[in-house]
Symmetry: C2
Subunit: 324 residues, 2 copies
Amino acid sequence: MLTPALPLGEFDIIRRFFSRSQFPSSGVVKGIGDDAAILHPESGYDLIAAADVLNEGIHFPKSTSPHAIGYKALAVNLSDLAAMGAEPLWFTMTLSLPEANEDWLSEFSRGLFEIADQFGISLVGGDTVKGPLSIGIHVLGRVPEGMALRRDGAKPGDKIYVSGNLGGAALALKRGSSGHSVDKDLQKKLDYPEPRIDLGRRLLGVANSCIDISDGLLADLCHILEVSSKGAEILAKSIPLSEFCQEIAQGSVPDCALNGGDDYELCFTVPKEKSDELNKIISDSGIQITCIGEISGREKLIIKDEELAGAGLRISGFNHFEPR
Amino acid sequence: MLTPALPLGEFDIIRRFFSRSQFPSSGVVKGIGDDAAILHPESGYDLIAAADVLNEGIHFPKSTSPHAIGYKALAVNLSDLAAMGAEPLWFTMTLSLPEANEDWLSEFSRGLFEIADQFGISLVGGDTVKGPLSIGIHVLGRVPEGMALRRDGAKPGDKIYVSGNLGGAALALKRGSSGHSVDKDLQKKLDYPEPRIDLGRRLLGVANSCIDISDGLLADLCHILEVSSKGAEILAKSIPLSEFCQEIAQGSVPDCALNGGDDYELCFTVPKEKSDELNKIISDSGIQITCIGEISGREKLIIKDEELAGAGLRISGFNHFEPR
């Protein structure tokens, strides 16, 4: 490929900022430095593959620190693996840069490898080119054969659960883009989402369906309902709110928790007979997990909360299911 | 992820232009439509992973047809698989679009699936976002365990070979960017490179090292020499020239064939005792394959051609090895 030379040089960038002598995951026969990486998958597993791209000015404001960009670019991809119950293994990255700034690259790669090491995933290849700032990451993970958590497995009677709490990331984005100063801990909710890898893996064989909340709770729950051909009843008041959203909630459920994206918590459904196993997961993992409703056989999403309905509740990004 | 809505809608784009009911490769348990794809690798194989990104105005001129962009974005990635001797299996794509133009998407996806079907590779997932036109593709293929063609296996005495002919793509790019009209067949060399998948697979167990010529013959051969810690002697006159380069060659080897990229032919080395096997590959495949020199133990690239040396031969993109 005729890649225009960056001032620092493509190979310099790779060598100085992205090549590492050791890989945190197993199975890397040959990483960066050939036409492609050579990976060795163990038998007995399915491979899980996902990809997300982050563009400057669209997926993150220009003011975002390079450390946070590197961290988040991988975090949102790991969240997809978490939603499948997968163990992270390897990733490739396409990095488009307007210029080869050493300070930027140093901080970006520090953020990237901070989360890569935390979750034991190895950077094994990619492409570094000149262009508008954009980071494309493609992750590979594995689950025991046939065990992956899918969106299409929800069954009537399944209880619907959400991990952590919701609304913080959307609130930070809203406040920041309207020129308000954003509390440091709130900003962290947007810039440093925590992929729920550990929870996802524990849910294998327990949850009937699972999705990560990237587009907003209602929109993402509707993805489960649509592909499972099911409906749901949820109790709005039970939705776990970020502490920052609680301040503005005033007794109702704010839009940032219902339709705000970027929280990267898991929404999943568990049949009643597996509730003991789920309780064990909750006590073992220490993760906050909240029941917000139940799957029904009718293809309709019913949100039980009179106050909310009166206030003109809306579901963004999806119109197949209607709130009552 | 808070992906801003494109006019046509992200899900519309995926459903209308990129979802397909059948996959040309095996092992796709679940393709597009969940948080990630579920793939089933067979045991006994290594997995080969590569990624390339194409940005508008940098990797292809703004005037390039969307059909050619879709075709080439996958072709350059398949070429990486070819250089490893891999069988193509699956790919993910991150597509950044300034607007959701139906005609553009229709032609782009037609070009993409034309080559995908030709080589039996399945699109299994990705991400579609708003932004400057950029296509990131990550491919996965497989080779029998431990058999991948690597850059670092060249041995002294290996003959050096090149598939097809060189210089056409670089000549087309040069003529086009200087405002000249470009012959249709010459333009095709740049827009529709042919990944040498079949040849790569046939070379498993025969070639000691292999690379695809994306940066230019001399630069890419030097990559083999560097990681193999070897040198080479090549005869400039033996380098196979594109018919279009022959016209301008006038007895010497033009720069477009030595340093021009984008041809995506294979450069590989074969030990003398495997020459019968290589001859069989040549006659079975019908692919033009030319011996251009030999690997030596001295870490030096010697180009035998007095006329060339006198004309100030240069190697672009690499300065560790010097021509004599």
